[in-house]
């Protein structure tokens, strides 16, 4: 047990970078505002989601109360929360158990398999609280306050909240460990990363889509209609019994309630025991079966060799091709880089598939000559949003990581290297802009000539956004990482890049509003916008080149 706790402490330390943080505050004393900003960002992010969920839970509570089942809110929270944990947790567990680099250090140590497994699971669990807190706490609060519960309720709630990730994660871990024994997931790591990423993206978009369908101001009626049928709790409970134990454990203050509460705890403990047993039997075997390196080891034919040498290209094209290949071939980069291109147009399509009355109103608005300019500029904002919501530019130097020595060593000027990065990011943003344009024409009946003009301005804007995003990464690249995830997901530059993009979009929106108010002709507005962006873009590009020439010299690797 002592060993397990030591390991958990170590894993939590590594996962949250506690020692690194201490070192930064005590020894380095540089960029101390960064962790504070990240902490604040997480707090605000979770806080706002919790607030949104509280509103939703309140709607469910009121609907439930009107059919005499106020406890329904608890069932939904204890089904929904663990469901999300299971979906996200599966990929998280696979990555923590099988793809973490420290396994090579841990396995040779005299540790029992379940101790390593347990410590990894504990880290996943701590992270999953971030997912669970916004779902479960609002339900507990809404029900507790709404029905005037006493001390015992709050105590039980706390225990169930702490235990809530155990059952889904233990189930997830059991599935993963057994599955890994049968198939070699390690071999298809990239495939799993892509599938996992896209599932998460689809899940997020799906929730958004569902939320769009809830009529604003009529949430309680909506839930009543969908969820108010008799026996809903039992119905849900059949799918995931722990939710019903949690519901009755908290809402009933009698023998059945107490038994259900104990049952929840007992099942959590049993599943953990099962995991220890399975872990000791299968964990190492499944890890080791995935250790083999896969390589085609195919000798190229003379003809293939000949063809590959004929591809001589300029240094700029070689650098661009390097950027492009490394981005697309690293799943986490490709997903984070290309997600924006999917989300932007998807949002437009979602507006199109909204409820009929809303859609008709939207079409009336679009086709009304009086509103044509603001609507078109809204389309432009979508294009710029699509360009701004990717992290390709704002992490493009960071992504080089430990191989940055190659960029420092080769006889290619910093300006040339950064220009290749600019082109690479711009191509992706341009692709997003054009796709958004096509969606605007196809789904929202935008005139083709107008869309072409908007795409033109959008491309200029994409250039500006990419340039500013790239400046951020040139100024403060994050080259120290061991897992590509850290280069994009745990990189403050991505967040700063999005902020800068939103700032640019905000300023351009303000300018556009001013143009609309002054009733300038449509084509003059487009011309002025293009001019403004071009006037900002040219010095930005010059600044980027100068900045890179200065900064590349000073980045030490």
């Amino acid at each position: 047990m002592k060993m397990l706790f030591t390991l958990i402490k170590l894993q939590l330390n590594i996962n949250f970078g506690i020692s690194a943080l201490k070192y930064r505050f005590r020894k380095e004393k540089t960029r101390l505002w960064e962790p504070v900003l990240v902490g604040l960002g997480i707090f605000v992010g979770i806080g706002s989601i919790t607030l949104m969920m509280t509103m939703l839970m309140l709607g469910i509570f009121i609907a439930g109360k009107s059919v005499n089942h106020p406890e329904m809110v608890l069932t939904i929270a204890f089904v929904g929360g663990p469901f999300v944990v299971l979906i996200f947790g599966l990929f998280y567990i696979i990555s923590a158990f099988y793809f973490s680099k420290d396994m090579d250090i841990l396995i040779p140590l005299p540790l029992k398999p379940h101790e390593i497994l347990g410590s990894k699971l504990a880290v996943v669990m701590v992270n999953e609280y971030l997912t669970l807190i916004p779902v479960i706490i609002p339900a507990i609060l809404v029900y507790g306050i709404g029905t005037g519960q006493g001390f015992i309720y709050w105590l039980k709630s706390l225990i169930l909240l702490v235990l809530s990730p155990v059952i889904p994660l233990a189930i997830g871990a059991l599935i993963v460990v057994v599955l890994m024994r049968l198939i070699n997931v390690r071999k298809s790591k990239d495939f799993f990363a892509v599938v996992g990423g896209f599932l998460s993206l689809l899940f997020g978009l799906g929730i958004n889509f569902f939320a769009q369908r809830i009529p604003k101001g009529h949430e309680a009626e909506f839930f009543k209609q969908y969820l108010g049928q008799a026996g809903l709790i039992e119905h849900l409970g059949q799918k995931y019994p722990p939710s019903i134990w949690a519901t009755y454990g908290l809402s009933l203050h009698n023998m059945k309630g107490n038994l259900d509460f104990l049952l929840y705890i007992a099942v959590s403990a049993l599943l953990l025991l099962a995991l220890v047993w399975i872990g000791n039997r299968f964990f190492y075997a499944s890890i080791l079966s995935g250790q083999e390196v896969t390589r085609k080891r195919r000798v190229l034919s003379a003809d293939e060799m000949e063809r590959s040498y004929r591809k001589e290209s300029s240094p700029l094209m070689a650098l661009l091709s390097r950027e492009w290949k490394l981005l697309l071939r690293t799943p986490v980069y490709a997903l984070n880089g290309l997600a924006g291109i999917i989300i932007g147009p998807f949002m437009v399509i979602m507006m199109f598939t909204a409820q009929r009355e809303q859609r008709e109103e939207l079409f009336k608005l679009i086709n009304n000559p009086e509103y044509i300019v603001p609507v078109s500029l809204g389309g432009l904002a979508f294009m710029l949003f699509t360009s701004g919501m990717n992290i390709v530019a704002s992490t493009s130097i960071s992504r080089e990581g430990k191989s940055f020595w190659i960029s420092k060593m080769i006889p290619a000027a910093a300006s040339q290297q950064v220009m290749a990065k600019f082109l690479n990011s711009f191509l992706i943003s341009a692709f997003g802009t054009i796709i958004t344009g096509i969606v605007l024409v196809g789904f929202l009946n935008f005139a083709i000539w107008r869309t072409l003009v908007l795409i033109g301005i959008g491309l200029l804007g994409a250039g500006l956004i990419v340039c500013l995003n790239l400046m951020i990464d040139v100024l403060r690249p994050k080259l120290e990482w061991t897992n590509p995830q850290e280069a994009v997901k745990q990189n403050l530059n991505g967040f700063l890049g999005v902020l800068v993009s939103l700032l640019v979009i905000g300023i351009l929106t303000g300018v556009s509003v001013a143009f609309i108010i002054t009733k300038l002709p449509e084509w003059i507005i487009y011309l002025l916008l293009a001019l403004i962006i071009a006037v900002l873009l040219i010095p930005s590009l010059w600044g980027l080149i100068k900045l890179s020439e200065w900064k590349y010299k000073n980045i030490e690797v």
């Binding site: 240094p315 650098l319 420092k408």
Partner: protein, 240 residues
């Protein structure tokens, strides 16, 4: 080939002096072995020669080019292999070599000849179409080596080049180093294997706590005492 004058570099805002007023020349046609205990300043010096680190003070010229003012020309004259071959894992070996060929502006015909020569010598021809991600440490070392030599640079700078190489490849690399210098070029390399330095190097420099404590041919280091091995000289100089 290399001319280092009054070179200094410190870390942690001056708290750790990694290289302290170093003066060193590597002549054309010589293999220069750079020795020193762990943390003595070898890699820091090498990185400053390549341009990966900037010096606090002093100057470096490579093949007549000031590494600060004419950095691109200096880089074109150098082929560098680091001690840890961190290289683009998601490129195939051939893509990496073609990338290096392009940035060093090596014509396709010449490139083809060199890649074939090195990949056959290092037994890599069966692996060049695979992603570098699937390579072993030694294979990565070989692909980095091939990439560094693809433009036939006048100066090879190799940081622990023999680590991870199999005996056959290590032997071939040593032969290559000799042949390269026989054509009037130079090799500047660091190693912990004193026997290799003893047999291979024309001159040796020993760095300790950032300072060059000895430099010269093996004979000069022995100071006429034929019994002394490089190991005993090294230990004597670095255990003070």
């Amino acid at each position: 080939m290399i001319n280092i004058k009054n070179l200094s570099k410190s870390y942690n805002k001056g708290a750790v002096k990694a290289v302290d007023n170093l003066n060193l020349q590597v002549k054309p046609g010589e293999i220069f072995g750079f020795l020193g205990p762990n943390g003595a300043g070898k890699t820091t010096t090498i990185k400053m020669v390549i341009g990966l680190l900037s010096a606090d003070e002093g100057s470096i010229t490579v093949n007549g080019f000031d590494t600060r003012k004419q950095s691109l020309e200096a880089k074109q004259s150098i082929g560098y292999v680091p001690d840890n071959p961190d290289v683009y894992e998601r490129l195939t070996g051939l893509e990496y070599l073609n990338f290096m060929g392009d940035v060093y502006r090596v014509p396709a015909e010449v490139r083809k000849e060199r890649i074939q020569y090195f990949t056959e010598m290092f037994d890599l021809n069966h692996a060049v179409s695979d992603l570098i991600k699937s390579y072993s440490h030694g294979m990565r070392q070989k692909i980095v080596l091939t990439g560094a030599l693809i433009h036939d640079p006048a100066l090879w700078v190799l940081d622990e080049p023999l680590v991870g190489l199999d005996p056959k490849s290590a032997h071939q690399l040593k032969e290559l180093m000799r042949a390269h210098c026989d054509k009037g070029n130079s090799v500047f390399f660091s190693t912990h294997v004193l026997e290799v330095a003893e047999k291979l190097c024309d001159r040796i420099g020993i760095i300790h706590r950032g300072k060059l404590v000895a430099i010269g041919t093996l004979e000069e280091l022995r100071k006429g005492d034929q019994v002394d091995t490089l190991e005993s000289i090294f230990l004597e100089l670095t255990e003070k």
